[in-house]
């Protein structure tokens, strides 16, 4: 019974992802893009959840690890012949190497994970506001370096000629892998220790939990997964450094908070809910017909609506749409027992 109950915690979000992907196969080519974006968002938000949800510590720095994943996969995937066009100042070993699709995703994940561990080693000693500002500072430094240091990437240029391998299939498989990793982690000894520390740091310390070490584990795993999501993203659309800064940080946090910070189910629901809303609004910005009504809202209304909803959810339901609880099947016969 308990094992089945636990499996549902993985199966429900995974099923939601697969369902989204299947729905994506029956729609038109132009609409399919929204579904792929949504699936990549699931990977990103679940990766952020692994740290923020389990530890209860806010991080503004995760998009830095995402950006490192984008840079690693992007720079390595562009064919050697195409590199001088957008990235003329690369280090030799970068400009002379090109790797395939799957290896580039692995490299993106490793780059994100290693960077997160390096950053986490000193930073995970901090908590409270100091931790929030310090992770923000990491984001600022990373963005500043990626923007101007042209030996490791395109600088201000947009990535071009990265093979567009992330379609519905890869995005869905990627999301399921990330969800599985998050599920295994949160059921593991390490994950439980960190969640115990989140609920009551003093009690957790008293039974021998090293909060520093547990946070560092989660931070590293979280960085690994979000780096992987970054790899998926750059194989989907060409972007530049502005796409991986404050706006993405905001949207990713918004998805997690709207869904419910403390559960895997919340992370997935939040990512899909906000993506769906965002896609609908994007269509409206372009002008669409719904039930015979012509709807055309001004460009840029999207973020107005998303941020209003985020503020509303925080005020009316601070624990998110799912209440921060995992998905569970209604227990039949429970009422009779009571």
């Amino acid at each position: 019974m308990r094992a089945r109950h636990a499996f549902v915690e993985f199966a429900a979000p995974a099923a939601l992802v697969v369902g989204t992907a299947l729905l994506g196969t029956v729609v038109s080519q132009t609409t399919e893009i929204y579904f792929v974006t949504a699936l990549i968002s699931v990977s990103t938000v679940v990766a952020l959840y692994v740290f923020v949800g389990n530890s209860g510590v806010l991080s503004f720095g995760h998009i830095a690890f995402f950006a490192v994943g984008v840079w690693a996969a992007g720079v390595l995937s562009v064919p050697v012949a195409e590199k001088p066009a957008t990235m003329p100042y690369l280090f030799d070993f970068l400009s002379s190497t090109t790797v395939g699709n799957v290896p580039s995703l692995v490299v993106a994940a490793l780059a994100g994970g290693v960077f997160a561990v390096l950053v986490g080693l000193p930073l995970m000693r901090l908590s409270g506001l100091a931790a929030g500002i310090a992770t923000f500072a990491v984001l600022g430094i990373t963005n500043n370096l990626l923007r101007y240091y042209e030996k490791i990437g395109p600088g201000l240029n947009t990535f071009s000629s990265v093979p567009e391998t992330t379609g519905l299939l890869q995005a869905a498989v990627g999301a399921v892998i990330v969800i599985a990793a998050a599920f295994v982690y949160q059921r593991s000894r390490l994950g439980r220790q960190l969640r115990a520390a989140r609920e009551d740091p003093a009690a957790a310390r008293a039974v021998g939990v090293s909060i520093y070490r547990q946070r560092l584990w989660a931070f590293g795993l979280s960085g690994l997964l979000i780096g992987f999501a970054g790899g998926l993203y750059i194989h989907f659309i060409p972007i530049n450094v502005d796409a991986v800064y404050l706006d993405l940080t905001f949207v990713t946090l918004a998805m997690l908070v709207i869904g419910g910070t403390t559960s895997l189910w919340g992370a997935v629901v939040g990512a899909l809910f906000v993506s769906a809303l965002d896609s609908l609004l994007a269509e409206m910005e372009a002008g669409m017909t719904l039930f015979g009504w012509n709807i055309d809202i001004p460009d840029g209304s999207r973020i107005v609506v998303v941020s209003s909803i985020m503020a509303l959810v925080l005020i009316l339901r601070p624990s998110g749409l799912t209440g921060g609880r995992e998905f569970s099947l209604p227990r039949i016969g429970r009422r009779a027992e009571a």
């Binding site: 209860g56 510590v57 409270g128 506001l129 500043n144 923007r147 740091p201 941020s307």
Partner: protein, 311 residues
């Protein structure tokens, strides 16, 4: 960083000690200190880090630009700026801060993050990405010569304004009963309420003071940076937030000093870094912020242990 220190420390120190750079840095530090007071005051009373503070300044700057494009007199523009910023502050307090009272610091921080993006995107819808220009006070950019150093009038205005505001604030906090209520709330909100301090009153007053300071900062900033865009003052707010935490959030004085310090250091680095490295200025600043936080997580200017919190 080692190679920079080795190659250019002499030049750097020489440039940093230049009176021109010093005066400009102190001017920037003074404006940042005003922002730090606005953020620190609200934090003290409500335990809320207002990420949307920069958007108040942005709104004020748009009000000034709006007035200057219509050729209205300077006084009217400044009055409009204060009205807009104060109205927005009060709306924010009523609609967001007050319902969130008692929530965790993380929830409040993310909520103000959302408000900040909301205001920014409204400005984008309204005024477009290129923004508007506020030109009515640009005369203050003219330099005057003091003891051989060219000082822009606005720098003097900024330093004097900041000094006057800080003195007034100290008087308010220490010499009036509402000031006493605010200090009591900052020390222990629930006990203060038990003793009859009205929480709503105190939070409205602190938000109004913070808003007035934001409007003032908007006036000072638009003189130096007249092009107002939706991301106006965003970078500065992030720096001040970092500075306030580096200084120490537990006391208003330490938060203000932190704000001044980060403005001052930012001015020094901007003035003294060789141009090949000036594009990495944010990295240097944020690197310093991380270093200080690792050594003194409770703040540079605090005594003993600061607030214990989890965000």
């Amino acid at each position: 960083m080692g190679w920079i220190i080795a190659s250019g420390l002499g030049n750097f120190v020489h440039d940093a000690l230049d009176p021109q750079v010093q005066v400009d840095s102190i001017g920037l530090g003074a404006v940042f200190a005003l922002m730090a007071v606005g953020i620190g005051l609200v934090f003290g009373v409500m335990r809320l880090v207002n990420f949307a503070y920069g958007q108040l300044i942005m709104a004020g700057a748009f009000a000034l630009a709006f007035a200057s494009e219509r050729g209205w007199p300077v006084g009217v523009g400044i009055a409009l700026c204060f009205v807009v910023v104060l109205a927005l502050s009060l709306a924010m307090e009523r609609a967001v801060f007050r319902p969130l009272r008692g929530q965790s610091a993380a929830v409040m921080l993310i909520a103000t993050f959302a408000v900040s993006f909301l205001l920014q995107s409204i400005a984008l819808l309204w005024f477009g990405p290129l923004g508007k220009t506020a030109t009515s006070l640009v005369d203050l950019n003219r330099p005057i010569s003091i003891a051989g150093t060219e000082v822009r009038k606005i720098t003097i205005v900024a330093i004097v304004t900041a000094a006057i505001c800080l003195v007034l604030l100290v008087l308010l906090l220490n010499r009036t009963s509402i000031g006493l209520h605010m200090r009591a709330t900052a020390l222990d909100a629930s006990t203060a309420r038990l003793l009859g301090v009205r929480a709503n009153m105190v939070s409205v007053v602190s938000v109004v003071i913070a808003g007035a300071l934001a409007a003032l900062v908007a006036v000072l900033f638009t003189v130096q940076y007249p092009t107002v865009t939706p991301t106006y003052a965003l970078q500065e707010t992030i720096l001040v937030l970092a500075g306030v935490v580096v200084g120490g959030m537990s006391r208003l004085v330490s938060a203000t000093l932190g704000g001044f310090l980060i403005g001052y250091v930012s001015g020094l680095l901007g003035g003294a870094l060789p141009s090949s490295q000036s594009q990495y200025l944010p990295s240097f600043l944020f690197g310093l912020v991380i270093l200080v936080l690792l050594v003194r997580p409770d703040g540079l200017f605090t005594r003993g242990r600061g607030l214990v919190e989890r965000v």
